[in-house]
């Protein structure tokens, strides 16, 4: 669906992306993961033409980006950013309706679609339609941001650290809701984050970037268990990554746990059995995470 071919980009003297090749498949959620300054946001912004590569090309549905009318293309790509960027002088309703109006949709159609999407993200038009962005909580605002990005039925949605400014509870909720919508609508989604926990818990695949280069592309498990090089390993070893690892491991573990073990709460032996089978190089970490999880559970 989206194809980066030999992309290179520098800002002034500084090379921010070098020889980037990446294919993002239709309907998958690709997370661009990396520390700040790794070039992940620049990559994302190239997809809707907010940045242009110095060399190489980007193809969307096998058409080179530079051959497409940019303004039309942008209307087909949803865009969600950390600071949301709702228009402060528009009501919630008008904010969501803007892009439909830009596309000259009839007001009747606009109304139907806005109502549908506000409903879908759990904010009713009757309550929220007339509110202004200043009256919304952070979580509400980002839901509106999502509705705005989705209302025109884009094939692609780009998300730049969309949930990182939210409190932990709304962050978890909205993450799951988005994931459901994304699967349901078969959206091709590209999400930028530095939050490993978020990456591994949401991604179909992760593209790990460091110093403007792709280090590894793979499923969360591949990134965790089969780090391709030292750089990925370093990332994996980080504190942040351990937490993520715990979360992923448990997700992986639970289906394997014996049903009676869950009922009897005799989890320990069940986990040990699993770990022997899994032949993981990270036994200790997984085990540690498991005990923590168990403590919380009990």
């Amino acid at each position: 669906m989206i194809n980066f071919q030999n992309i290179e980009k520098s800002f002034g003297e500084q090379l921010v992306l070098k020889s980037i090749n990446l294919e993002i498949k239709k309907g998958e959620l690709m997370v661009l993961l990396g520390a700040s300054g790794s070039g992940k946001t620049t990559m994302l912004r190239m997809i809707n033409g907010l940045e242009n590569p110095d060399f190489g090309s980007i193809q969307i549905a096998n058409k080179r980006l530079e051959n497409r009318p940019l303004l039309e293309l942008r209307k087909e790509i949803g865009y969600v950013i950390q600071k949301v960027g709702l228009f402060p002088h528009y009501s919630v309703y008008d904010n969501v309706a803007t892009i439909l109006r830009l596309k000259n949709e009839k007001e009747q159609v606009v109304k139907e679609k806005v109502e549908k999407w506000l409903d879908k993200i759990g904010l009713r038009v009757s309550v929220y339609g007339r509110k202004f962005p200043a009256e919304l909580s952070g979580g509400e605002a980002q839901r509106i941001g999502l509705a705005r990005a989705l209302v025109a039925k884009p094939k692609i949605i780009l998300l730049d650290e969309p949930f990182s400014a939210l409190d932990p509870i709304s962050r978890l909720k909205i993450r799951n809701e988005f994931r459901e919508i994304q699967k349901e609508e078969k959206l091709t989604a590209v999400m930028v984050t530095h939050d490993v926990l978020e990456a591994v818990s949401m991604a179909d695949r992760i593209c790990l970037l460091a110093h403007g280069e792709i280090q590894q592309v793979g499923t969360p498990q591949e990134i965790i268990y089969k780090p391709k090089n030292q750089s990925v390993k370093e990332f994996v070893k980080g504190d942040q990554f351990q937490a993520a690892l715990a979360s992923v491991s448990l997700r992986e573990i639970i289906p394997f746990l014996k049903a009676d073990a869950l009922e009897n709460q005799d989890l320990d032996s069940s986990v040990l059995d699993y770990l022997q089978e899994a032949d993981s190089t990270y036994h200790a970490i997984v085990l540690n995470a498991f005990y923590k999880w168990k403590e919380e559970l009990l």
Binding site: L50, G85, F87, P88
Partner: protein, 513 residues
Amino acid sequence: MEVFKQLIEHIELTLVSLCIAILLGVAIGILIAVNKRSTKTVLTLVNTIQTIPSLALLGFLLPFLGIGVVPAIMALFLYALLPIVRNTYTGISEVDASVKESAIAMGMTRSQILFKVELPLALPYVMAGIRTASVINVGVATLSAFIAAGGLGKFILQGIQLNNTNMILAGAIPASLLALFFDAILGKIQSSSTKVIRWFSIILLGGTFIYLLISGVQNFNKSTIEKDLIGGFPSEFVYREDGLKGLFKAYDFEIKYVEMEIGLMYQALANGEVDVVSGFSTDGRIKAYNLRTLEDNRNYFPPYEAAPVARQLIIKKYPEIKESLARLEDRITNDEMTEMNFKVDERKMQPEEVALDFLLAKGILSTEREAPVKRSGIIKIGSKAFTENYILAHLFKFVIEAHTNLKVELKLGFGGTKLLMDAMKNDEIDLYPEYTGTALLLLLETNTQERESIMSNPEKVYGFVKRESLKQFEFEWLSTLGFNNTFAILMRSEQAAKLNLQNVEDLAKYSLQ
């Protein structure tokens, strides 16, 4: 009603200039917000304009735009520009980067972003700028009276010149009320919805455009028809009893005229904005601007012969003062005095230097050095705050010190005749130059009949003034200096020659009716 008419004129000036400033200011503000490279230059430029004193700005514009409503609107427009440009720029720059990015990513064109997002969000800033500009404009518009553009400033100007407090208030109170009114209205609009602001802008700008169109057509018609001589007179001259009204009466004619500030008047005459002005006979600018004095052939203006006036007591104490100053009797002609004023005003020479040069040239003082004398006794000489008086005070000083043993102290630059009189009465000064006409009309208590009967005869006036000053104040008038600095009706020399105008009576040819 006069106040109402001036108020309307004032509103016209303010609104028209404000609207042009809004149109251009918002446009410039947008431009510099979009094109960041020009920001600093443009903001510095409009900032600089703002720092020019209002009267100076009117002076700068005079050679290009002349006098009247057009330069006044231009000046007001320039003043209104800064707050509007700066606020528009700030308003647009302050739009949150994430909001702008959302708009771009949504596929908006540049103009859609400007009109749907940036301008609506900048609107409160723009309105605040317009509010500031309107209040500034109502204030500055009072100065338009200086260049004959009318408005409430006319009252203020007249009031100041005629020392009439009620008249000043008649201009100042409506002006401040108007400023408050504008501020309140614009404040109300500022806090209302975008729709109201949009309609307000359309009505305001549309109205101004139509107004400009209509008044433009009117002016065009006017300027093609009229070929009259136009007078330019300071308010004081227009309204005082022995000023313009009396002049028209005495000569039985009337020409079209505008009121203007005295400092700008000469320049306006030189630039051909006006053709006839009232000045003073010995003003240096007569020479500087190559003007001609039309002869007052009906002797309408009273004589203003200059002479030293001293406290009687000091003359009794030092009779040598009188003797020494007698050497100046009838030694200065009008042309010579004009020349001396010209040297100070236009050539920027020191009054002291000019006075000394004159005395040496006339042989009243010699260059030969006399042996230093031991000074005994001090005499204090005062003067009013204008060039001619400074020069005269120095002349007196040189002559007295050369021919007596007295030491002279100068106390120059009194703000007005009244202050000088008080200083004389309190023995703070002993002697100062005065004019017979001023004493006759302002200082001495006289009855109208007596005044009228002697007014056209300089000798009688001098005699009267000398006698009455002694009686009323115990001041002694010494011998006159020879020149007569009375009111003068002035024209450009070349125009007067071309139209063959010699005296004031000749102006009757150009009378309105």
